[in-house]
């Protein structure tokens, strides 16, 4: 009888062990408190199919000496983002790199960020090196992003390259119901133009400054950019939660003597003018967990409809001339002075994101539209993300560029693009 009880107790204990949930876990890098070295990044394998718009002047410039190509082009590329951070209590060094591999003769390496930081205290810091800043509250556009990298509204969350700079930040908190926090950021940007590729004139150094305040539960930034070479700019932005599921934000920027690249009489020219740019947007979450982001953006130095038509006529004129040097020059202007997805003045951006609809696990479809209000052309994309395993993501990303002849999106070199991406994090 005693044996039987022992058997029952033994089985019971083992069942308990078998069915007990294991709640213990290992805390990453917990032991290294004084100094910490962390490496990480991700690999992005990207296969793209492009449906060309062969009547587009951009297409004809890009492939002017390639003969008759098929309507469908493909691209296969590996992109490696590798990051390293070394941090002691007060001093740190941070590195972000980006490499692309197309084939053995077409591989590239870029330093996105490489800077050191020194914590003067828990509320003041100095950073020096190449660093990425992101000013402004807008999701797809940032009129006040004076120190930001070139932003792609098609993929605003993409890692970007920073600028060489020296920055200082200081934070102060207050025991007040109105003003809770204020923070000052000062950035010194060395001149971009170099003499003998090495030296620069000290008077061409730019200075950017931003004062952030949390005022009556509203984030408010006031910023400025002073330069003898680039336009002087002032601006402000705000962001606040109106309800438990609605956020509103806005930006306003004034540029003094901003330069605008235009075409006059089939020749490139630069126009200097004061300009206002602004953005107003909101983010809304509904009861089905759908997130909607909507933004209106006015670009004060964007092209108006007549200026855009002049620009397209200039490109077409160069192509029609069949003169190789004129075509190369037009391509150079197009890539140097008219780069970006949005060249004109007024846009609406709308993004709808729905995680796991109909209980389809790990699947997040979204749709976004960049709509040109002046010429009624649009870019429509429907990225579908699937994350079946931890640290991996598959993205199926079709993009449609829609518009009549002569419109911005109706003129792009591709009418459809399909991307298949596999991202692996480590």
């Amino acid at each position: 009888m005693m044996k039987l009880w022992f058997m029952v107790a033994f089985i019971f204990c083992h069942c308990g062990i078998l069915f007990a949930q294991d709640y213990s876990f290992e805390i990453p890098q917990k032991e290294a408190k004084e100094e910490r070295l962390e490496l990480g990044g991700y690999l992005d394998g990207k296969y793209s199919v492009f449906h060309s718009r062969q009547s587009s002047p951009f297409y004809q410039l890009q492939f002017f000496d390639q003969g008759n190509l098929s309507q469908y082009l493909t691209q296969y590329m590996l992109e490696l983002y590798l990051n390293g951070d070394y941090q002691t209590k007060d001093i740190g060094f941070h590195l972000k790199t980006y490499s692309t591999y197309d084939n053995d003769s077409a591989a590239d390496f870029h330093l996105l960020e490489g800077y050191g930081n020194f914590n003067l205290s828990l509320s003041s810091f100095v950073q020096a090196g190449k660093r990425m800043y992101n000013w402004g509250k807008g999701y797809a556009f940032n009129p006040v992003g004076y120190v930001n990298p070139f932003k792609d509204p098609e993929n605003p969350e993409l890692e970007q390259a920073g600028i060489m700079s020296l920055s200082f930040e200081a934070i102060k908190n207050f025991n007040s119901n109105a003003l809770k926090t204020t923070a000052l950021t000062v950035i010194v940007v060395p001149p971009a133009e170099k003499i003998n590729n090495r030296y620069a004139e000290i008077k061409n150094t730019d200075i950017a400054g931003k004062i952030y305040s949390l005022l009556w539960n509203i984030d408010v930034d006031v910023m400025g950019y002073y330069s003898k070479v680039n336009p002087i700019r002032f601006g402000a932005d705000f962001s606040t939660n109106i309800r438990e599921n609605i956020e509103a934000h806005g930006e306003m920027s004034y540029s003094k003597d901003a330069t605008k690249n235009i075409i006059i009489n089939k020749k490139p020219a630069t126009m200097v003018q004061d300009a206002y740019s602004y953005l107003l947007g909101f983010r809304y979450l509904n009861r089905w967990n759908t997130t909607i982001i909507a933004e209106y953006y006015h670009n004060g130095i964007g092209l108006d409809k007549a200026e855009y038509t002049e620009y397209i006529d200039f490109l077409q004129h160069s192509i029609d001339s069949a003169n190789q040097s004129a075509i190369k020059q037009a391509l150079g202007y197009s890539q140097g002075y008219f780069k970006g997805v949005t060249l004109m003045q007024d846009y609406l951006y709308l993004k709808i994101n729905q995680p796991e609809p109909f209980n389809w696990l790990y699947f997040t479809p979204s749709v976004f539209v960049i709509y040109n209000l002046k010429d009624r052309s649009l870019l429509l994309a429907t990225p579908l993300s699937y994350k079946p395993f931890t640290n991996s993501e598959f993205i199926f990303w079709p993009t449609f560029l829609i518009g009549s002849d002569g419109t911005e999106f109706g003129n792009k070199q591709f009418q459809q693009r399909l991307e298949l991406r596999m991202q692996t994090y480590f």
Binding site: P28, E244, L361
Partner: protein, 246 residues
Amino acid sequence: MVRMKKAVIIVAIMAIAVSFSFAEDANQLLKTVDEKLMPESYAAYRRLINEEPNGKKKEYIFFTVKKGKDKVAMLYLSPASEKGRATLRLGDNMWLYIPNVGKPIRITSLQSVVGGVFNNADILRLDFSVEYNATILEQNQTGYVLNLKAKNKTVAYDKLKMWVDKKTLLVTKIECYSASDMLIKTLDFKEIKNFGNGVISPSIVETYSPLYKGYRSTMIYSEIKPRKFPDEVFTLNYIPKLGDLR
């Protein structure tokens, strides 16, 4: 007749006074529940497990710091795809910092930065007494049932029903309701653990919801240490540096 009127007024005043004193008792009790549940300022490590209807699990590990009643910040330590993300909450204000994006963006309390049943308000929870006014709904020999009503409309849940153990004054269960009295989710507080430094509190919080059938999320506390921080740590400029506090 005049006497009658006087009597009615006196009874009404007494009723109001008694109800105020009960509310005051309930709010005082709620403050004690807050104090018992977590130290006022602390650093903690947490593991979050989101269990999906198909039995698959997704896990996160966070480093969390809190100061006072309404300042919380949290850094993602794993998995690699989320590492370096951080969230900050100051009262009704919440932000999410994504390293690739390079700036904190405002988020709302009803969003969920980690998916699963926990939303931002659960993960970056403030003291209950900051967001809710309490009244005692029931009490018996073993515990209290409190009715908590949100102080304003930016609070994630309009009403909470909270079960408190009378002996330990630790919360054991919470039901979260919308303004239309719909049950949004249930939180179970389990496995009371001595974390040292006088911190004795539930080490596991489990949540499930009739709105997310088959989903279950579990938060496990591994370490809770009382610790003081300057206010400047809980600011947008400091979010990218949260890891320096570990």
